[in-house]
């Protein structure tokens, strides 16, 4: 499908402003060079947003000269702040220069880039920041034990955009103990890798594309929206609404949805787990995607099959997550997408953790920006995970900060601890009062998903009632309910259907535990089995690691989010890589599967308990159907 984009910057320049904004060329030029320079200067001048022009010096000196290239790249221009001078590479005027680099578009972009530096340096106060700046000026540096992070950031602010916390968050810069760092080391999909060279180069690089590349609005829609807001520009971009999310491990690993089918975004919190690393829970986001046949609305919350869960997480090549490596940034950080059911299964069932969905009260513009930012992050974030500082929660905080929320609210929500962000959100203006507590959420079956422990407890209570004795845990059930006790229970299920299903559920747990133990024992005792399984796991882990991040399959032919064609190509590459892996390791995978199947087949329930429960259920079902 051909993607099209049309960007119209409705710049209205008052005549007096136009006449007061002047470029003075200091270099002696031939008439032909002069004509070309005048034309470019005029076009750039006219393209600048009005709000920007108001804040720039009235006169710029323009100089053309030979600017030596660095080891890595050609240098196209230099901003000499003190002299209000922009130096441009004279090759832009030379008919013999490399036409690919020194063409008219790059001429305009180079000038826009240097003008952006001037605008940035002017530290123009955004109207929305003024009340906060005033507030912070009258505030002590320290509030209690901690400095007010927002006030500190505003006091340090010395640029118009480059150190605007909202832009920094959106552009992927974060403050750390060692300075400002880029979260992602992936530069392939930047308009120019130079954007990643320093925080103050990101804005000029993005701005030159914003101004002169119609596709920018579709390739980097979240940044485009930020610029539109900042400059008060109305922008009409006809971008394709299709989004392709990569869902590793699913039968169809790419899910393409229309962005306008995303009804809401929830903060999705997995409650505290037993393991050390999960004692504060896990932060995720849920895209409440509507089913194809549903008109977008609140009922989309029922379309669980369509929801997509997003999670900033670390990956390991061998499943071996070490604490030291986790703390020191040895694991890659990406934004993973999963199905709702996969996440529910993992947390509710395998880890016995509750899941809470907290709907974010966003304006349409905020929601749109957040969707775009998440999508771009999904395809372009490949950074380093730090357990304490750059993790699932810090990244969601960063996304919120870049969404255009009131800055004081966004800063209040900054956190690196999942349970803390959950608590902060519940007491924030971003959450509706009807769902602003755990207890309120727990009453809403579309927003709260209890762990399987609840089902286990229900089954245990039914068994306890029937047995006339307390069976408090599954371990007690397995230990105490011997064959004789089981016979008695089963007899009672004749007249108690609820008990029948309770026994079925508990017996299935007993069986699965026994089978898992049998598999483990086999692995431990049999060296050849162990070797096969370990090799299979190593292959699986490496395969999953290599396929964790879809951006690795993109080229740098374009920047930002992929076009539909690109996403389609990546889907093809991933599919063929999976097939190749499968072919390469066919024998190994087959052996591992055979071991597992062998365990299943050789497992014999000594008392045939499950068979008996199953037959009773089947006979009841048949009698119901008849």
């Amino acid at each position: 499908m051909i993607r099209s984009a049309w960007l119209a910057l409705l710049v209205v320049v008052a005549p007096q402003l136009a006449s007061s904004f002047e470029f003075r060329i200091e270099t002696a030029l031939t008439p032909r060079e002069r004509s070309k320079a005048d034309q470019i200067l005029k076009e750039v001048s006219q393209a600048l947003p009005t709000e920007m022009r108001k804040s720039l010096p009235q006169t710029f000196k323009i100089k053309f000269k030979n600017i030596p290239a660095t080891k890595d790249r050609e240098r196209l221009g230099v901003a000499e702040m003190f002299f209000n001078r922009i130096v441009l590479n004279e090759k832009f005027l030379s008919p013999t220069a490399d036409s690919k680099l020194f063409n008219e578009l790059n001429f305009k972009k180079a000038l826009a880039h240097e003008l952006a530096h001037f605008y940035d340096q002017a530290n123009v106060a955004k109207p929305r920041l003024k009340p906060l700046v005033s507030y912070c000026e009258g505030r002590p540096s320290y509030e209690g034990q901690r400095p007010s992070e927002l006030c500190e950031a505003l006091k340090r602010k010395s640029k118009t955009i480059s150190d605007d916390p909202e832009f920094k968050a959106l552009a992927g810069w974060v403050d750390s103990a060692s300075g400002t760092e880029r979260v992602s080391s992936f530069t392939r999909r930047l308009p120019n890798p130079y954007a990643a060279s320093a925080p103050h180069e990101t804005f000029p690089v993005f701005f030159e594309s914003y101004l002169f590349e119609p596709d920018f609005a579709c390739r980097m829609p979240a940044v485009n929206a930020y610029f539109n807001d900042h400059f008060g520009v109305r922008n009409s971009a006809n971008c394709d609404s299709q989004m392709s999310w990569y869902l590793p491990g699913e039968p169809k690993p790419y899910r393409t949805i229309s962005r306008d089918r995303i009804w809401a975004i929830d903060y999705f919190w997995a409650s505290e787990g037993a393991a050390g690393e999960s004692r504060f829970g896990h932060s995720m986001l849920r895209l409440v995607v509507c089913a194809p046949d549903r008109t977008p609305g609140p009922d989309c919350y029922k379309d669980f099959n369509d929801h997509i869960i997003l999670s900033f997480g670390a990956s390991s090549e061998n499943f071996d997550f070490g604490t030291v490596s986790g703390v020191t940034g040895k694991y890659p950080l990406n934004l993973h997408a999963s199905t709702f059911h996969k996440i529910k299964r993992q947390y509710n069932h395998a880890e016995l953790r509750d899941l809470y969905a907290v709907p974010l009260k966003l304006t349409e513009a905020q929601k749109s920006r957040m969707i775009d930012a998440l999508y771009e992050t999904h395809w372009t974030l490949n950074g380093q995970y730090y357990f304490m500082t750059r993790n699932c929660t810090s990244e969601i905080s960063r996304v919120l900060l870049g969404t255009g929320l009131p800055l004081d609210l966004a800063f209040d929500l900054k956190s690196t601890i999942p349970s803390e962000l959950f608590t902060k959100l519940l007491s924030s203006a971003l959450i509706d009062r009807s769902v602003n507590s755990r207890s309120k959420l727990q009453k809403n079956a579309l927003l709260y998903f209890s762990s399987s422990q609840k089902t286990v407890d229900l089954a245990l209570s039914l068994v306890s009632m029937a047995a006339g004795a307390k069976v408090p845990t599954i371990d007690v059930y397995i230990k105490k309910v011997n064959d004789r006790a089981f016979d008695k229970l089963l007899a009672k299920t004749e007249s108690n259907e609820k008990l029948l299903y309770a026994v079925y559920f508990l017996e299935s747990i007993r069986r699965d535990r026994a089978m898992a133990a049998m598999a483990k024992e086999l692995v431990e005792k049999e060296a050849n089995v162990r070797q096969t399984m370990q090799e299979a796991v190593a292959v699986g882990a490496k395969g999953a690691f290599d396929l964790r991040f879809p951006g690795l399959f993109l080229t740098n032919a374009r920047y930002g989010v992929p076009t539909n064609e690109e996403a389609y190509e990546v889907a093809g590459l991933v599919t063929s890589q999976i097939a190749k892996d499968k072919e390469t390791h066919q024998a190994l995978i087959g052996s591992a599967q055979a071991i597992l199947s062998g365990v299943q087949q050789s497992f014999v329930d000594s008392a045939g308990r499950m068979d008996r429960v199953v037959k009773m259920i089947q006979s009841k079902s048949q009698s119901t159907v008849q």
Partner: protein, 108 residues
């Protein structure tokens, strides 16, 4: 519209028709194998081996169906799957729940 709905309910319908059908990639299958190796007994222990076959939707719905049979309370997750199946097949909710539970039993 029909095709989209079919895709939507594919997992559930597949499970109804063929309980042991695999629905995931080999990579995930091996991740499942890894779980079996490393977890002697999950907290509940249920369906670890089945989980290795990646039928997340099916397993979630089946558990919800069993919970429904025990409590009489229909969870939205179960209701959602029933609604999806009913768009394709003229079956009562109780029949679908029976089949869901029996699909698992058939895999014994």
């Amino acid at each position: 519209m029909k095709m989209k709905s079919l895709v939507l309910t594919a997992a559930t319908l597949t499970a109804l028709a063929a309980p042991q059908a695999k629905a995931c990639s080999d990579v995930d299958l091996i991740v499942g194998l890894y779980m079996v190796m490393t977890i002697t007994s999950a907290p509940t222990g249920t369906t670890i081996l089945a989980a290795a076959e990646c039928r997340d939707e099916m397993l979630n719905v089946q558990e919800a169906a069993v919970a429904y049979r025990m409590s009489g309370e229909m969870s939205p997750v179960l209701q959602s799957s029933i609604d999806a199946v009913q768009k394709e097949q003229n079956l009562s909710a109780e029949t679908i729940i029976d089949r869901l539970v029996n699909a698992k039993l058939g895999a014994e």
